[in-house]
């Protein structure tokens, strides 16, 4: 059952608590995610990442804010752009990198890949590679909590593109009709795959879509990790107390293309630069520096620390064994006893 943290001493739970303990912990995690994504791009170019991969440089404040405001026992359903969410929730860096590189050390043994990350210790369900699919699944977790009288909540994290698919509308309607403890978090990064929001979506503010379900909604600056944390904490508290679901729109931006084959040539001139001038890591570091919360470090020093740490992780993962032929025959069916 997921109504309690299954394993409080789990390294993933510990890592989640580190993020929650101090603002510096959150900044460090944002730096780690940015570095992780940049390295994935390099590893992809080196031919070490099969298939495709979807990175999220620029959106780091959203998953870190969400992870700061929620419990490890809350269930999270996320999309294929999920490296940052997994790392923020506390999944071990080597488990995420290992999975992307097809290693046994990966969080599902190297059989899932970049789009399928999971860790029951922090209640991250396997991330969903089908747009919108995780939205109704999150409601199912919320139904479990409602049925078992747990005060945990279920969170679904998805992009603006997912709000045009049926699963979004069916899921939000059902969550509202049954007043379930579900939080829907839309990372509105302005593009669904290669297409600008305005060419695919009838509204420019995703939060407006809550109106048609009579649902509470919030809009938050997705580049401001404190704002994300405060907003999520508020709506999660509401849901824990029987106040029902909320749709949260986080206005954000991905610096990368949709996937590795996308160079982002569709962006208007100056748009990327404008968003980079409000980089979530730079903004938060400046704020912490002003408050004396950087622990005596500079941002560059913190980045260097994360690089050193990541180099070590990367070396260990690259030395670790890949999934084997016999591995693919495991876990097709669950045992019945």
């Amino acid at each position: 059952m997921s109504d309690a943290t299954k394993n409080p001493s789990s390294p993933s739970v510990q890592r989640r608590l580190e993020l929650q303990a101090t603002p510096l912990g959150r900044l460090e995690r944002m730096i780690e995610i940015r570095l992780f994504e940049d390295r994935i791009v390099e590893l992809f170019a080196d031919g070490l990442v099969p298939g495709t991969t979807h990175t999220m440089q620029g959106q780091e404040a959203v998953p870190v804010g969400v992870a700061a405001a929620t419990r490890p026992s809350d269930v999270v359903c996320c999309t294929y752009r999920g490296h940052g969410v997994a790392l923020a929730l506390g999944v071990q860096t080597e488990a995420v990198l290992g999975e992307i590189l097809g290693r046994q050390i990966g969080c599902m043994g190297g059989l899932g890949g970049s789009m399928h990350l999971s860790d029951p210790d922090v209640n991250l369900l396997p991330t969903f590679a089908i747009v919108g699919a995780g939205i109704p699944v999150a409601i199912g977790a919320a139904l479990t909590f409602a049925t078992t009288k747990s005060d945990n909540v279920a969170l679904s994290v998805f992009g603006d593109g997912a709000t045009n698919i049926g699963a979004f509308h069916e899921g939000l309607n059902l969550a509202k009709v049954w007043n379930l403890p579900a939080i829907f978090i839309c990372e509105n990064n302005l593009y669904g795959e290669y297409s600008p929001l305005a060419t695919t979506t009838a509204v420019s503010d995703i939060a407006d879509r809550a109106l048609s379900f009579g649902m509470n909604s919030e809009t938050v600056d997705g580049q401001d990790v404190d704002a994300v944390e405060a907003t999520i904490a508020r709506v999660v508290e509401r849901a824990r107390n029987g106040g029902g679901p909320t749709l949260v729109e986080a206005k954000t931006y991905r610096y990368s293309g949709h996937s590795r084959s996308d160079q982002g040539l569709y962006r208007p001139e100056g748009e990327l630069e404008a968003w980079k001038s409000r980089d979530p890591i730079e903004l938060f570091a400046k704020k912490l520096d002003a408050n004396g919360d950087l622990g005596g470090h500079t941002l560059d020093e913190l980045r260097a620390q994360q690089r050193e740490r990541f180099d070590d992780v990367q070396r260990r993962v690259l030395e670790s064994p890949s999934a084997t032929v016999s591995d693919m025959f495991t876990h097709v069916l669950a045992p019945n006893h």
């Binding site: 396997p126 109704p136 699944v137 899921g171 876990h331």
Partner: protein, 334 residues
């Protein structure tokens, strides 16, 4: 006791709900209205609104919800009123439910039952009369079972609810009102993946499932030859051992299917047996099916579409006497 199939299904669900408080039921009109086919009669009154819920007409939404509920500790039994309605929610069954155990390195399980009514014979027209098991076959991680009457429905339903993997349980609509002897209780629960020899015989093996079990039995009863009739009960995985054992005895295999010829579930049975029991076969493997057309409207045409007992008898008689595949009745049309 003599039970209609819908009563047997209701009883099986209720028996499991008594044993396990994690079992919950939801679907369109399953609670207040007792189910449009009365397969959940009285469950709301007995188990209350937390465990028996009416959903919106929203299959993608509530099947996805069932997947999430199953992964986090409940054991949902979700009803799809007509199998065609699964089309709008297929992702949640074949791409989500079936793969979540695998995609979590074995750390999540999906103990989910999706029940759906199937089949022709009631004049509903072609969008409410298909069997469509072909949509699901060949999906690793998924179990697919088909009831052939009250007795198998009771056992399959209870076994499916106990299974730690997603199960799609198909219920032929024409059989909901048909009565059979059922002894409720543990003794009537059998393992998924096991077939039942419902009639013993020596000359030919008829493999079938769902509502064509009755067709095959009637065909066998009227025939001059001695047929062994096997109700597969589960088509994924199917009971290869039981079928091969029978064919090795009789030397002939005929698969009787309700679905159209192309892509029917029987192709898998025919191919496997033709390969594995080649030396035992005294003639070609025959599939008796419906033609490759949509299910027609109107009871008369629909009865013509479905393989009848007389048609099965004639086809098998011709096979046994000529050792050749007889032409299907529709050869002059298609």
């Amino acid at each position: 006791m003599r039970l209609r199939m819908n009563q047997a299904i209701t009883m099986a669900i209720a028996d499991e709900m008594e044993l396990d408080s994690r079992v919950v039921v939801f679907g369109e009109d399953v609670a207040v209205a007792d189910g449009v086919f009365k397969t959940s009669e009285g469950l709301l009154a007995k188990f209350g609104p937390d465990r028996v819920r009416d959903t919106p007409i929203s299959e993608m939404g509530f099947l996805g919800m069932a997947v999430g509920a199953a992964m986090t500790g409940l054991r949902p039994v979700a009803e799809i009123m007509f199998i065609e309605f699964l089309g709008v929610a297929l992702d949640q069954v074949v791409t989500e439910a079936a793969l979540m155990h695998y995609l979590s390195g074995g750390r999540y399980q999906v103990p989910l039952v999706v029940r759906a009514s199937v089949g022709s014979g009631l004049g509903f027209g072609c969008q409410h009369s298909q069997t469509l098991e072909r949509w699901l076959l060949g999906t690793p991680g998924l179990t697919v079972a088909v009831a052939s009457g009250a007795r198998s429905a009771y056992g399959l339903t209870r076994a499916a609810i106990r299974e730690n993997n997603p199960v799609v349980l198909l219920e032929p609509r024409t059989l909901y009102g048909e009565r059979e002897n059922v002894e409720p209780g543990e003794g009537s629960v059998f393992a998924l993946g096991t077939a039942e020899v419902v009639r013993e015989g020596t000359d030919v093996t008829l493999v079938t499932l769902g509502q064509t079990v009755r067709v095959a039995l009637a065909a066998a009863d009227a025939a001059p030859w001695s047929a062994e009739v096997i109700d597969l009960r589960t088509i994924m995985p199917w009971d290869k051992e039981r079928v091969l054992e029978s064919v090795q005895k009789t030397g002939h295999l005929v698969v009787v299917e309700e679905n159209q010829y192309t892509g029917g579930w029987g192709t898998d049975i025919a191919a496997h047996v033709a390969g594995e029991a080649f030396g035992s076969l005294k003639g070609p493997v025959l599939r008796v099916t419906a033609p490759d057309v949509p299910v027609p409207y109107g009871l008369e045409l629909e009865q013509h579409f479905l393989p009848s007992a007389a048609y099965v008898t004639n086809q098998v008689s011709e096979l046994l006497s000529t050792k050749k595949i007889p032409a299907p009745w529709w050869k002059e049309f298609a």
